[in-house]
């Protein structure tokens, strides 16, 4: 590959399960910028069964839209750039064909098994099941489960270095007895990564090496107090390329085209989020709400976490959102009545015809209500998973560590700086204000939080780009990736409707200033355009916290503008909607009007 300073044109694709998205980045005046994006249906499945067809179709669209030739007469990518054609590097991510599906195993469910789960999720995998010695299933049930699953690979962990080897060896025996088969390709052995007690390596090898393709990496939990996920994650990525992708139709060809290893899409998203959080020293939560799954990413205290809510999504899994959230929770966001039988049928019809779009406002409002619940549920799962290491926080002895119950989540809404939303329902909301409101209702940010959407879900491509050209990745992320919605200011606490909860002053860059008093149950919006900043002074009422503690004032805090602006949300935290239906509907309409969510005609 050429020197990074010589790279002028970058082509990147993300092969999703339904759509392949291509982006073209060019260096203009020493700065990398997104030029255009294109997309085409993914062609992994029959009748095409060659992922590169979809890639070339998406790249053709990029060519047509930009007028920059990228494919030669033989249907090959032109590289490097020459005569106003081609690209200098080409990279790709992939979640097509079901992405990376893994099973993980560990001795203690909340300790080594959870670390293994974190490693797999962080690498971008879908974790099909977590087998643990103490997961309350009988061995034959666990074996049956392993046999049914047909994962792409297994990550086996267990024990701290130097600790007992018996339990992890038992798990290995369980895997051996199940004799699991890989999902793709009959001819090859299932890859199993062993990342447990180093003293058990020889025994694990004895038990497993003739049945599976065994790889040994450093322990993910060498001591109780430390999680060492890097080596396992790297191995997962290597095996994803060598074993899983190599079995999928057309990937061998695609791999020969790329200048960096193809990464699982969510793994790449994790990389870019971590990079941005580290560079700017901020805490981030991101969500990608898709048709089948909702991924939540977070970086708190420098620790990256990712969860996948496999059955929370807006089309294939929409019916499951309805089941898990319940009719009442969905309808609480809807300012009109609908017969529950009718609603059930509508949701199921969306499930069986996932590509349809709302044509009426009523349908749009219902879909956005379901999205709030899908994100809310996915975020609950994320908070429960993104924790400090269990069993070590207040540890004095190992025995005490085992006694310890669930520990604190890393997710701290008051210290959170930014929420990034992506996925069709957020990115393609007809009004950006709708995306902002969905993020507010679903995540319920506290204190001062910036809101943004990744309008074309470019983060996967930028994530893999960050591994070979961090400067280009960061510049495009800053300038072209996010659409900034603005900043939400939310005092935490509860009060009676209409009581004063926050005094505020906003000083705009142009010298204007606004003063006001926010009352409980009220929302307010101030325009502050994209790229603009303002400073705010916030004085919460007694019992309300805006980030410094109850009743404590914040002075001259910088806030960032966006297409919506500065949003004061006085609805209280935790957010509770009025129980009385009439009152709830009237409050919803009031907030929707202030937020300018929908045409007035729909709120009459």
């Amino acid at each position: 590959m050429m020197k990074s300073e010589d790279i002028n044109i970058i082509l990147a694709t993300d092969c999703g399960s339904t759509t392949t998205k291509a982006i073209l980045i060019k260096k203009i005046n020493d700065e990398y910028r997104l030029i255009v994006r294109g997309e085409a249906p993914t062609t992994v499945e029959a009748p095409f069964e060659d992922v590169t067809m979809g890639v070339l179709n998406a790249v053709s669209e990029v060519s047509e839209l930009s007028g920059w030739k990228l494919i030669n007469e033989n249907g090959e990518l032109i590289r490097p750039t020459r005569d106003s054609a081609g690209c200098d590097i080409y990279i790709s991510t992939s979640s097509a064909g079901g992405g990376l599906q893994m099973m993980v195993a560990g001795v203690v469910r909340t300790m080594t098994a959870e670390s293994a789960e974190r490693a797999a999720l962080g690498a971008g995998a879908i974790v099909m099941d977590v087998i643990a010695s103490n997961d309350k299933r009988l061995p034959h049930e666990q074996i049956e489960r392993i046999r049914q699953l047909r994962p792409d690979m297994i990550l086996l962990s267990g024990g701290v270095d130097g600790g007992t080897t018996t339990h992890v060896a038992e798990l290995a025996e369980l895997i051996r007895a199940a004799n699991p088969r890989p999902r793709l390709g009959i001819a090859y052995k299932l890859p199993v990564i062993y990342a447990g007690n180093k003293d058990a390596r020889e025994e694990i090898s004895k038990v497993l090496s003739d049945k599976v393709d065994l790889f040994v990496v450093d322990n993910i939990r060498p001591v109780l107090e430390l999680e060492n996920l890097g080596p396992a994650r790297e191995k997962i990525h290597d095996l994803f390329m060598e074993h899983v992708m190599a079995q999928a139709p057309g990937y061998k060809k695609l791999m020969s085209w790329t200048d960096a290893p193809i990464m699982p899409t969510p793994g790449a998203v994790g990389l870019i989020m971590k990079m941005v959080a580290d560079l700017e020293g901020i805490e981030i939560v991101g969500v990608d709400i898709g048709g089948a799954t909702t991924d939540v990413f977070s970086v708190f205290k420098g620790i990256f976490n990712r969860t996948v809510s496999a059955n929370l999504g807006m089309s294939y899994s929409i019916s499951n959102v309805f089941t898990e959230a319940g009719l009442e929770n969905i309808m609480r966001w809807v300012p009109f009545d609908i017969d529950s039988r009718e609603l059930r049928n509508r949701i199921k019809n969306k499930m069986i015809r996932p590509t349809t779009i709302p044509q009426t406002l009523e349908e749009l409002i219902i879909e956005q209500a379901i999205a709030r619940e899908a994100i809310r549920l996915a975020f609950i799962q994320h908070k429960a998973f993104a924790t400090t290491l269990k069993g070590v926080q207040r540890v004095k002895t190992v025995a005490e560590a085992f006694e310890q119950e669930a520990t604190l989540t890393l997710v701290n809404m008051l210290s959170l700086n930014m929420i990034i939303g992506s996925g069709g329902i957020l990115s393609h909301a007809p009004r950006r204000n709708q995306a902002a409101m969905m993020l507010l209702d679903a995540f319920q940010p506290e204190g001062i939080t910036r809101l943004a959407v990744d309008s074309i879900f470019m983060m996967p491509q930028l994530g893999v780009l960050s591994t070979i050209h961090p400067k280009a990745a960061k510049e495009v992320f800053d300038k072209d990736c996010l659409i900034h919605l603005g900043t939400s200011i939310v005092p935490v606490g509860l009060e009676k409707e209409g009581k004063e909860i926050l005094k505020y002053t906003i000083n705009f860059e142009d010298g204007r200033s606004e003063k006001g008093i926010l009352k409980f149950g009220e929302m307010r919006v101030y325009e502050l355009g994209v790229g603009n900043k303002a400073t705010v002074t916030l004085e919460p009422a007694r019992g309300f916290d805006i980030g410094q503690g109850k009743g404590k004032k914040i002075e001259n805090e910088k806030v960032y503008g966006g297409v919506v602006g500065i949003i004061f949300d006085g609805r209280g935290r935790p957010l509770k909607l009025p129980e009385d239906k009439g009152l709830r509907i009237s409050k919803l309409k009031e907030w929707f009007r202030i937020m300018n969510l929908y045409p007035e005609s729909s709120l009459l």
Partner: protein, 379 residues
Amino acid sequence: MAHVYTPGLKVSEISIIHKRRILPLKGEVLVKVGDTVGPDDVVARTFLPGRVEIYNAAGILGVAPKELPDFMLKHVGDWVESGETFAESKGFFGLIKTQVKAKFRSRIESISELTGQVILRGEPIPVEIRAYVKGRVVEIIPEEGVVVETVGAFVQGIFGVGGERNGKLSIAVSTPNEPLDEHRINESHKGMIVVGGSYVTASCIKKAFAVGVKGIITGGLDDQDLRDFLGYDIGVAITGHEDIPTTIIVTEGFGNLPMATRTFELLKKYDGALVSINGATQIRAGVIRPEIIIPRENFTPEDLKKIKEKETGNPGLFVGAIVRVIRAPYFGRIARVTSLPPELQMLETESKTRVLEAEFLDDGTRAIIPRANVELFED
């Protein structure tokens, strides 16, 4: 974009249908190329590994794992009967022995000196694959299965529950607009695949289960009824494994929806014929739709020629195409495309999207509909 896809369901009077019938593990193929098979004929067979039971033998006997082999009465590869002792402690002076007994007839697979565990595996579980459709074996995949070919009518539904079934087709309503209620089902429908019109009632499904109806094909179904008879909500559209006596195939969607006339008329034409149906539906990654296959014998070379012509490809949306609207506010209505404006248009939702103009076949009124919200009838 290089391709525009319009989701469409096949409703075809004649098609060449190939069904891959594959074992979950390698095994034995029982038929050969050219054999004629019936839907219930077994075409391949194998054995799944038996159930595994793990015994913490060293723990039970109170000995160190390393010493376990000394206490084993049986060895790796030996069979043990249900209740038979396979490991035993020495006891005090040969008395009060602790024993480890097999829970079911099984074979010793491993004895671990590291963990002290003994793994026993039960007898292999036979698995048979049936032909599913009446037809001819056209390909053998050695040790894995076969491809069965049949020529016949082929109808895809939009959603189904329950697996592969076959039986005689029985049309129980006279028009596609009539709902299928319990009065239309009787003892004579036992073992049959019953076709209804717009809707199947909860009480009808209950009666079909009781009578032993093998399948129901209907235009619409109420999701609440589906939940009631399954006992749970279907959260993700992956179906086919439900434990229900009757496979149900919905051709149009959820709600009260008349079956498309073309589908209804086609099924009606084959009233009494042997059909194979499968409710399995998977909407994500590798779409599987429920299917109705009606093998035909009386087809002519012209019919086969027609198939070849049809297989030349999906024309996509075109002016004059007949489409079905698959989303509110016109859900379920059939229309003819009258124009395909290339520019994006703004909907009531303020979303800009590609649309089509269409004329509804029932009353001649016209409407603008997002292209994403129609499906083309494929024939």
